[in-house]
């Protein structure tokens, strides 16, 4: 592979959801629906016709109001959602920090979970053995290694999850608002880890409502609004455009801390939400 080839390319991508999810579906409908295109009122597109190329080592911040498809975009790049239009091409491995504690099995101990989740993302046992102590140290769960995951506090769960996923050594890292959870000290530790990864050449995709984080970790911005990719350019320009559109950047008024805590609450209350 040449270095000039993009590591992620989206071409004319669109995703369609049904407005009232979990509506009644018949089996027949599901099998033949795609070609018939019926029931257009119930459908909406978080975004359509999105195209961009990302090259190795770039760090991208995604901005947009709630429900404009930021997480959907990350799910597409993580390969856990399939586009309805266009094509998504990801050429290297992805470490997804989305739905963060998702892959963990609540009945198993922390130790088993480290091997399970790392293994699920393709690490061999030898690699995990080598990284094990580092993962445990970083998560600060030394005394609870043999405690079942379900007995962990939510903060401990997030610490362990971040520690495992950020240690996967994948060339692409997706971060979706997870930094809103956990105490301030651990958050700073996480940011430091992300910095290290960036220095090591990792390609970063960051969804955040924190202007500070976006400015300090990202060079390029993507701005999703009203079903389209409204801006794609240097992060400063993208944030400015977003601010102009929104009137004021929420964070200005409220302050970093308070705003982050709000999102922590939000994340906790809507963890089921895919969007």
């Amino acid at each position: 592979m040449t270095t000039s080839e993009p590591v992620i390319s989206l071409h004319d991508v669109g995703v369609q959801f049904s407005r009232n999810r979990r509506r009644h579906r018949s089996i027949k409908d599901l099998l033949i629906r795609r070609k018939l295109g019926l029931d257009t009122q119930g459908e909406f597109w978080p975004f359509r016709h999105v195209s961009f190329d990302i090259h190795a080592g770039e760090s991208i911040g995604v901005v947009g109001r709630n429900g404009q498809g930021k997480s959907t975009l990350l799910s597409l790049i993580a390969g856990v959602l399939l586009p309805d239009e266009g094509s998504v091409n990801v050429r290297l491995g992805v470490a997804p920090l989305i739905a963060i504690t998702g892959g963990f099995e609540s009945e198993l101990t922390a130790r088993d979970n480290i091997y399970l989740v790392s293994g699920l993302h393709g690490m061999s046992n030898d690699e995990i053995d080598a990284a094990f102590d580092e993962i445990v140290d970083f998560a600060e769960i030394g005394d609870f290694l043999d405690t079942p995951f379900k007995h962990f506090s939510s903060g401990m769960k997030v610490r362990l999850a971040f520690s495992v996923v950020s240690r996967l050594n994948e060339p692409i890292l997706l971060v979706d608002e997870v930094l809103a959870v956990g105490d301030k000290r651990f958050r700073n530790k996480c940011l430091k880890r992300i910095e290290q990864l960036l220095e090591g050449g990792t390609t970063l995709f960051l969804v955040s409502h924190s202007e500070g984080n976006l400015r300090s970790y990202c060079q390029r911005g993507l701005y999703l609004e009203s079903g389209e990719l409204r801006a794609d350019g240097p992060i400063e320009e993208v944030i400015e455009k977003y601010e102009r559109d929104q009137g004021t950047w929420v964070e200005r008024a409220v302050g970093d801390e308070v705003q982050l805590e709000e999102y922590a609450d939000l994340a906790a209350s809507s963890s089921e939400d895919v969007f």
Binding site: R21, L30, G79, V80, L81, V90, R91, I98, G103, G119
Partner: protein
């Protein structure tokens, strides 16, 4: 172009809105992730066998206990006319085979829903979640083979070359459960009722399949029903590993003879039971093909709903 990242991990992928990855691409991905499949299966077995000291006993207790119950009901209470002697061995073979089929299908129904969080956060091929259940149940069956051997030894039935029918039956069971699983796992995510329908369907299937009885006990005019049941041939083959009468055509105790008049003479024709095996094999191939098709169709909406 796909580039495996360093250390030979499964790397990139391409997803498109037009068309779905073909069978070959899907197979390639599953093979690429075989190590992760092994990891998941080991995990399942570990939970199953290390969770409690009686783990192994639990997995074979149900089929064994039910075999005893049926053996009691049919030989002591009723005067058994079905199956072959020793009836307990006959039952154990059928029950264990059925336990794999039943456990596999019931397990695959929940394969994706139960792992919703994993499915949502990891891009391993989605087929892997179904395969994992099928393989785990298969390994459990293999581990129960010693039980069959013990019963066979008790009744001094020396194993003949016929035991090789057993692996063939297992192959049929594997693809049958996989086929059903590929249909049912994504369907359950989209249509919740499936989870309720399947256990009822399986109970009916149990009595409609030759588990408690042999195909030779079924009146001729019902053979058509046995032939469309894809489990029939699988059970016939599994049984034939210790009961050659199950397959053979020239055994007098079977009601498979037909009187035909040839040149004015009455000739008795015996029909062997291989046709059940072929019909089931065809049925399994069809169900597996439908499974692959349905899974590829439902994968996209399933990922949105899960």
């Amino acid at each position: 172009m796909t580039t495996a990242s360093l250390m030979g991990r499964p790397g990139g992928f391409t997803t498109t809105g037009t068309g779905r990855p073909g069978l070959r691409e899907r197979l390639r991905r599953v093979i690429q992730y075989r190590r992760i499949l092994a990891l998941l299966v080991r995990r399942d077995l570990k939970v199953r066998y290390a969770g409690s000291t009686l783990g192994y006993v639990w997995s074979i207790l149900d089929p064994l206990l039910m075999s005893l119950v049926y053996w009691f009901v049919f030989t002591v209470i009723f005067n058994r006319r079905v199956g072959f002697a020793p009836y307990i061995l006959f039952l154990v073979l059928g029950q264990l085979m059925w336990a794999w089929f039943n456990g596999g299908v019931s397990g695959t129904v929940r394969a994706l829903r139960q792992q919703a969080q994993m499915v949502r956060s990891s891009n391993v091929p989605r087929e892997l979640w179904v395969l994992r259940v099928v393989v785990s149940k298969g390994v459990e069956f293999v581990l129960s083979v010693p039980v069959i051997a013990i019963f066979a030894l008790c009744y001094l039935k020396a194993p003949s070359i016929d035991v090789l029918y057993l692996p063939l039956a297992m192959l049929m069971c594997f693809f049958l459960v996989l086929g059903f699983g590929l249909i049912l796992a994504p369907l359950t995510v989209l249509v919740r009722d499936v989870e309720r329908i399947v256990p009822i369907f399986m109970r009916v299937m149990f009595y409609a399949s030759p588990v408690l009885y042999s195909v030779k006990d079924v009146p001729r005019h019902l053979h058509i029903a046995l032939s469309v049941n894809p489990t029939t041939g699988m059970l016939v083959l599994a049984r034939a590993s210790f009961f050659p009468q199950e397959l053979a055509g020239d055994v007098p105790e079977m009601n498979n003879s037909k009187q035909v008049i040839v040149n004015g003479h009455v000739v008795t024709h015996y029909v062997n039971n291989w046709h059940f095996v072929w019909h089931s094999a065809i049925g399994i191939v069809v169900i597996f093909a439908i499974g692959v098709f349905v899974f590829s169709r439902l994968e996209r909406p399933m990922l949105k709903e899960i």
